[in-house]
């Protein structure tokens, strides 16, 4: 009898003990700090003044250093205002944009094939990627957004804290219909000649004048001329110093079939150079259908992706054959029918000696 009581008592003690230990073990986590998102005080944007041009998408990528704060962070744009402090809702309005649903590979065979990879979407003019803090100024025109300086704040937050980057500047400027562009995008005035007021080919080599002197690059001027709005086309023409047209047959080394350019954005050769190549009946001009912008990723690459074309010829010169070439890197942003005119200020020599 006595023994039974003892067993009961024993069991009671063990049970109490067990409960105590479980309670103690349960308490271990109490008072320990919870794991929280880390929010670094030293996170920062590498730029706080965003210079953008109308007429193209302006991307600002890889500009935020989170300093190992726990990601994903949440970014939002606050308080978009004009320089004088008045609100600027036009920058937050949603505009129709083209969005890629498939990647651009560079080997598309027609403009339709390229546009089929895009779809219509809507986006605010000033767009911030919600988790990366990358800022995009979408392609719009001055009817929606006036040029000038705007200001906005960016709020960054995660579970560990939040920070507001205030007074970020947005400098909206005039569009560049093409690149290189010889006008100042703030004032609209022609730049001085030594600061890009006159466009020359990027590369002129082996081109000689009638006196067998090698012509430098600045002996050729390049003009971009828009001739119409019917279609997006690109035409190349050459003129000599007398403004007489030079037939393209002079460029006897051109392999028109294999023309392509290198896209830095996709890191690959884009072939063909453009679509539906056609020559005038007298071979004085070559015209292509081009996508807009041209190159396709010229604007979203951060204005670094350029198409380039090189016109080559070859002639016999005192017992040697000499190669000559004239090359230009460029981009076309404004839609329409564009002519690229190469104007020799000194006549080059195409004939054999």
């Amino acid at each position: 009898m006595n023994r039974k009581i003892n067993i009961k008592r024993m069991a009671g003690i063990l049970l109490t003990l067990g409960i105590l230990i479980t309670l103690a073990a349960g308490c271990y986590k109490e008072g320990l700090p919870e794991e929280q998102d880390y929010f670094s005080k030293d996170m920062n944007y590498s730029i706080n003044r965003f210079v953008v041009n109308l007429g193209r998408t302006n991307p600002f990528v890889n500009i935020f250093n989170a300093d190992y704060s726990s990601e994903p962070l949440t970014f939002s744009i606050l308080d978009v205002r004009h320089n004088d402090g008045s609100p600027a809702p036009e920058l937050r309005q949603e505009i129709p944009v083209k969005e890629w649903k498939e990647y651009y590979s560079g080997d598309e065979k027609s403009i339709a094939e390229i546009t089929a990879k895009q779809q219509d979407g809507k986006s605010p003019v000033l767009y911030i990627r919600p988790n990366s803090g990358e800022i995009f100024f979408r392609n719009t025109d001055s009817s929606k957004v006036k040029i000038g300086t705007y200001r906005f704040d960016v709020k960054v937050s995660n579970g560990g804290g939040e920070k507001i980057f205030s007074d970020m500047q947005l400098d909206v400027r005039l569009p560049h219909p093409y690149e290189p562009y010889e006008y100042d995008d703030s004032t609209g005035l022609l730049l001085p000649p030594d600061e890009g007021g006159v466009i020359h080919p990027n590369q002129v080599s082996g081109v000689m004048d009638m006196l067998e002197r090698t012509l430098p690059a600045d002996s050729v001027n390049v003009y971009f001329v828009k001739t119409g709005d019917a279609k997006n086309t690109l035409t190349f023409k050459f003129f000599d110093e007398d403004s007489t047209i030079i037939p393209l047959t002079r460029f006897n080394m051109m392999q028109w079939d294999s023309l392509h350019y290198r896209s830095g954005m996709i890191g690959a050769d884009v072939f063909p150079f453009a679509f539906n190549r056609r020559f005038d009946s007298d071979s004085t001009a070559v015209t292509y259908d081009i996508p807009n912008p041209f190159p396709v990723l010229a604007d979203v690459s951060g204005n670094t992706d350029r198409a380039s074309i090189t016109f080559k010829y070859n002639r016999a010169s005192f017992g040697q054959r000499k190669n000559a070439s004239i090359g230009l890197s460029f981009a076309i942003y404004a839609p329409g029918e564009w002519q690229v005119i190469f104007k020799f200020k000194i006549d080059p020599k195409f004939d054999d000696d």
């Binding site: 073990a25 990528v61 990366s132 890191g267 990723l297």
Partner: protein
């Protein structure tokens, strides 16, 4: 100490003479016969010493069947003594005696050394685990540490390396450090190692092991030098109360090793000899010959950047294209040249004898242990002599001298774990090595010299004197001296065409003196269980350590056969880029330091009828490295214990052997500050006013208020013994907070200094430990089948609770693999920072497209390394369609295991015994750097390396293939997108394992005629398989031979399997 030798000889002679004199008086006496048996299982006990209490003479020993026949006088008291058993006294008479001896180790009466004092275990309040020396026999390992794995709940031992003589990692109750040094596979966590106390002498666990990356020394620690055969018991103190009396060095726990003592009136000679064979582990499967050539040629032809590139590569890779050239037409198995099977021996002779008044012991050990990689191995020689003398009841004197020599050969290895040859294999197309042809790595193992010697001498002298009854004065002085040398010569061919001569000489010593007084009082001295018992002890301790290291490092000598000059030559000045491409020239004094510590400690221990126990202790520690304004740290502790089985109302429970509850709290500290971060460094600067000047060095700002690192710990435990020893439980739960951890705090430029060392890190470990022993079959008749199972496990969780300056995240950059470490408050103390891999892109169309920019997701923000079919899917955390280290890594993983433990099964039947001993680990994150490195090597198919058998991997071969790894064959693309980079969770695997450490089959010889003829009391033969097998979900070869932080190094030294055949004999 040499004079002990003759005295022992004299003693043996005297004892032999004594034995002879007994026979002289034989005619007047009677012959007593009988048998001595184990009371628990009825097995005979051989070698039990028989003393005549009345005449104070030694009579003899029992034979191998436990039988004895001694001649004495009628009516005399005979005392039977045997190690590990309670003494038994019987009256000599005509009738045969049957003596049943009770094993002491089963009960709580066992003595435990706590705070340098022996106490019975039932009055100890702290969490103490005891391993008997018997449990660590039968395996000739190179480091005792290896045998402790899985034996104690809460003692986590990982054998990181198979290199003989090196150490693994040890931690008690989780990690207690945060400082990580080095990067890549050499990244190392600061030592968590506990304090080691061998025969009451405190010893640095890491003695001789420099934790720095360079690992310049011989790296042989004290546990590698002590022979397991000489160990009587090992106690592991896990909680703060038990460790508190060891003061400033006990914060990581304490391991107390007691070596064997003489305990036999007749001298006993014990011999343990064995031969063991080390087998190399299974080699990694490789593709050789045609397979290799096909892989390389196809990869180059089909997957180069373009045709020109592939042609260039093939043109240059003559070893691939010139297939008709017999020089390149081989299939050499390089791994086979690095590994070897070795036959080794281990011998131990122990001569001991004596009684409580005077006992002596000499242990001589030798081990030859050659590694499974060529030219590596460890030889050790040791001699341990001990003499304890008690001339009268009031004076006890003890002395010990331990000397050991450890000789280590490291082949061509290096690093903390003695790097193996994992990465050193060349292409199989190369011809096999011969006199004229070789590869540098193999030549290094064949011809380079790397001799590492450690000489250790340790002596102590202790004296206790009873001033007045029960008041003892005690004094112990020990001196521990190490010389570490390393002589290394690398031939030019093996060392980037520069010879290297490296000499290291380190001398360390430690003088420790402890003087104290203790008093014990009992109201009923004859039986402690009847009254009040009090024990009070005070002591002070002085500790002086010195360390000096000199290094000679000469590069680019004139020839492979000119090993000199061994002096400092200005031609080889440090920093000379020609001699020293890695900036590692370290000539001169590498380190020199002197350390002084002074401590006062006291303990008050009281119990009532041994039922209610309380321990109070206090220790004050000061040392010369602590901040000048904070020299002393305080280590108080309290412990309570209730032995509830002694309560009257539980006494009649026959099934309850014992039961107790323990509760302790205490603070321990750890001296980690150094004189450099408390006082700063001064440096000689060249010219100031045209004279050399001395000014502060601006790297570390001194912090005079720096305090020692500390930890406080609560422990609640229970012990339970049920059903007459058939079932025992020990349970502990603890909460340990380590705080004041010294961390670098980086300063702004305006201070002029780079950083200051501050107390600021803190972490918490809490968990549960359980040890269960069950005697499943335990019949009383001798020779019957017995089966005992012991199982233990410890569950530990760690949380980082603070970093200095209030920050909550610290990222430690790994410059080698970019496998950064993250210390984040609220998480486990150390985490990895990795990309998250969620699969393989089955088609290029699956790669996400940036809707604004029109391109696919890519590797790194810049560049054009777009992902395509066959590439890994890494989580793009910030949604910028680029995978970059600054934004897309996750804080994941935990290199510290969740649970560790072990299991032992012992079977015996008649003369046979079988022990199967296993250990396990649950949940630990490992990074398989070895696999990552191997796969990355394949991105260069035109470089000579070896090709692993890719059929073993599930890699992507085309749309729809079920693969974990990317398209290995697409070598050019892989060089752009790095699909096999190490810092991704594809290579973060669970390192849980279950390992069969040891299987031992023993046979005890009984009743053989030759035994009597040769005077053998005991003869046992055994065979042991060590490191039998490891079962793990981990894809690498061994989840244990990884670094402390869980990185599987391709150069890791594999753990060898060994087979041992040996005999134990006692004369």
């Amino acid at each position: 100490m040499k004079q002990h030798y003759p005295s022992i000889k004299r003693l043996i002679a005297a004892l032999l003479f004594l034995g002879g004199s007994v026979t002289c008086f034989a005619q007047q006496a009677i012959t007593v016969r009988g048998r001595v048996l184990d009371k628990q299982n009825g097995s005979p006990l051989p070698g039990v010493s028989i003393n005549d209490v009345t005449s104070k003479k030694a009579l003899g020993l029992t034979d191998d069947r436990g039988n004895f026949q001694v001649i004495t006088e009628s009516g005399h008291q005979l005392k039977f003594r045997y190690i590990g058993y309670d003494d038994q006294v019987a009256q000599a008479g005509e009738a045969a005696l049957r003596i049943l001896m009770t094993s002491t180790s089963k009960a709580l009466k066992e003595a435990v050394i706590v705070g340098y004092n022996a106490r019975t275990k039932e009055t100890v309040t702290g969490a103490v685990s005891v391993i008997s020396g018997k449990d660590i026999q039968d395996v000739p390992v190179s480091n005792v540490e290896q045998l402790l794995q899985g034996k104690v709940a809460g003692l986590n031992i990982q054998n990181l390396t198979g290199a003989p003589g090196f150490s693994g990692s040890v931690s008690i109750r989780g990690i207690s450090q945060l400082n990580i040094s080095g990067g890549g596979d050499q990244a190392t966590l600061a030592s968590n190692n506990p304090l080691l106390v061998i025969d009451n002498v405190p010893i640095d666990y890491d003695g001789g092991i420099d934790q720095s990356m360079l690992q310049p020394g011989a790296a042989t620690g004290p546990l590698a030098l002590i022979p397991p055969d000489d160990i009587e018991s090992i106690e592991v103190f896990k909680d703060a109360q038990a460790a508190s009396l060891y003061g400033s060095r006990g914060a990581n726990g304490v391991i107390v090793i007691t070596t064997k003592r003489g305990n036999s009136p007749t001298p006993v000679i014990t011999v343990n000899s064995n031969v063991f064979i080390n087998f190399p582990p299974e080699l990694r499967p490789t593709w050789g010959g045609l397979f290799e050539r096909r892989f390389r040629v196809n990869s180059i032809l089909e997957n180069s950047r373009d045709l020109i590139d592939s042609r260039n590569k093939l043109n240059n890779a003559q070893f691939l294209t010139d297939s008709l050239n017999p020089f390149y037409n081989n299939s050499t198995n390089w791994q086979g040249y690095f590994y070897q099977t070795t036959i080794n021996t281990n011998h131990n002779v122990q001569i001991s004898g004596g009684d409580a008044r005077l006992n002596y012991k000499t242990n001589l050990a030798y081990q030859l242990n050659q590694g499974v990689i060529k030219n590596t191995g460890f030889n050790k020689y040791s001699l341990n002599m001990q003499l304890n003398f008690q001339p009268d009841q009031r004076l006890r004197v003890g002395a010990q001298l331990f000397g050991a020599l450890g000789q280590k050969a490291r082949g061509n290895g290096g690093g903390l774990t003695n790097n193996g040859a994992g990465n050193a294999f060349s292409s199989s197309l190369n011809p096999s090595p011969s006199h004229f042809i070789g590869i540098p790595e193999l030549e290094g193992y064949d011809n380079n010299l790397d001799d590492n010697n450690t000489v250790n001498l340790r002596g102590y002298l202790s004296a206790d004197y009873e001033l007045i009854p029960n008041l003892w004065l005690s004094s112990t002085t020990s001196y521990d001296y190490y010389t570490d040398t390393r002589d290394q010569f690398k031939q030019a061919f093996t060392n980037n065409d520069l010879t290297m001569l490296y000499g290291y000489l380190g001398r360390r010593d430690e003088l420790n003196t402890r003087n104290g007084v203790n008093y014990s009082y009992s109201t009923v001295p004859t039986n402690m269980e009847q009254g009040h018992n009090l024990y009070v002890s005070f002591f002070n301790e002085v500790n002086i350590k010195t360390n000096k290291i000199n290094i000679v490092d000469l590069r680019n000598g004139p020839s492979d056969y000119y090993w000199g000059p061994r002096g400092y030559s200005p031609r080889f000045y440090p920093g000379n880029p020609f001699n020293d491409p890695n900036g590692k020239n370290d000539n001169g004094v590498h380190a020199t330091s002197v350390y002084h510590a002074l401590s006062w400690a006291g303990i008050v221990s009281y119990n009532y009828k041994t039922k209610y126990n309380i321990d109070l202790s206090y220790r004050l520690d000061g040392n010369s490295d602590a901040g000048v304004s904070d020299r002393y740290s305080v280590n108080p502790a309290i412990g309570l214990r209730w032995n509830f089985n002694k309560e009257r109302w539980l006494r009649d429970l026959t099934w309850l052997d014992y039961g107790s509850l323990r509760m302790t709290y205490g603070i321990n500290s750890r001296a980690t500050s150094t004189i450099l971060n408390t006082l700063g460094v001064y440096q000689i600067y060249a010219d100031y006013n045209n004279a050399p000047s001395v000014a502060p060095e601006f790297s570390v700002l001194p912090n005079p208020t720096l305090q020692p690192e500390k930890s406080y710990q609560y422990d609640i435990g229970a012990d339970l013994g049920l059903f007459k020893g058939r079932l025992t439980f020990t349970y502990d739960t603890y909460y340990k907070r380590t705080y004041n951890i010294v961390r670098s705090f980086y300063l702004p430029d305006i201070t002029g200094y780079n950083e200051v060392q501050v107390n600021g890190g803190s972490l918490v470990n809490y968990g549960h430990e359980l040890a269960v022993t069950a005697r499943l079959f335990n019949p009383l008749q001798p020779g019957a089948f017995h089966w005992t199972v012991s199982l233990n496990g410890a569950l530990n969780r760690g949380t980082l609770t603070g970093l200095p300056g209030g920050i909550t995240l610290y990222r430690q950059i790994d410059p080698v693999y970019a496998e950064d470490f993250i210390l984040k408050v609220g998480r486990n103390p150390i985490s990895n920072y990795l990309y998250q891999n969620t699969g393989i892109y089955q088609s290029t169309a699956d790669v996400p497209v940036d809707p604004i920019r029109g391109v696919r997701a890519k590797w790194q923000a810049g560049g054009t390394n777009f992902f395509q079919a066959g590439d890994p899917i890494w989580t793009d955390v910030n949604g910028d369609y680029a995978i970059s280290g600054n934004h897309d890594k996750f804080v994941i993983g935990n290199p510290d295991p969740l649970m560790t433990g072990g299991m032992s099964n012992t079977f015996s039947y008649h003369n046979f015994s079988l022990n199967i001993y296993c250990s396990y680990l649950i949940k630990r994150t490992l990074l398989n750097n070895a696999l990552s490195t191997r796969l990355q090597q394949l991105s260069d198919p035109d470089k000579m390396s070896n090709v692993y058998d890719l059929d073993q991997l599930r890699y992507w071969t085309g749309a729809g293939s079920d693969a974990s790894y990317s398209d290995i064959m697409n070598v050019y693309h892989n060089s752009l997108t790095n699909p096999f980079l190490a810092d991704q969770d594809l290579f973060a695997e669970d390192g849980s394992y279950f390992k069969i450490n040891q299987i031992t089959l023993g046979y005890t010889f009984l009743n053989f005629g030759f035994m009597k003829r040769w005077g053998l009391h005991l003869l046992r033969a055994y065979a042991t398989l060590y490191n039998v097998g490891i079962f793990s979900p981990y894809s690498g070869p061994d989840p244990e031979t990884v670094t402390t932080l869980g990185r599987d190094d391709i150069k890791g030294y594999p753990a060898a399997r060994s087979l041992t055949l040996g005999i134990n004999a006692q004369f």
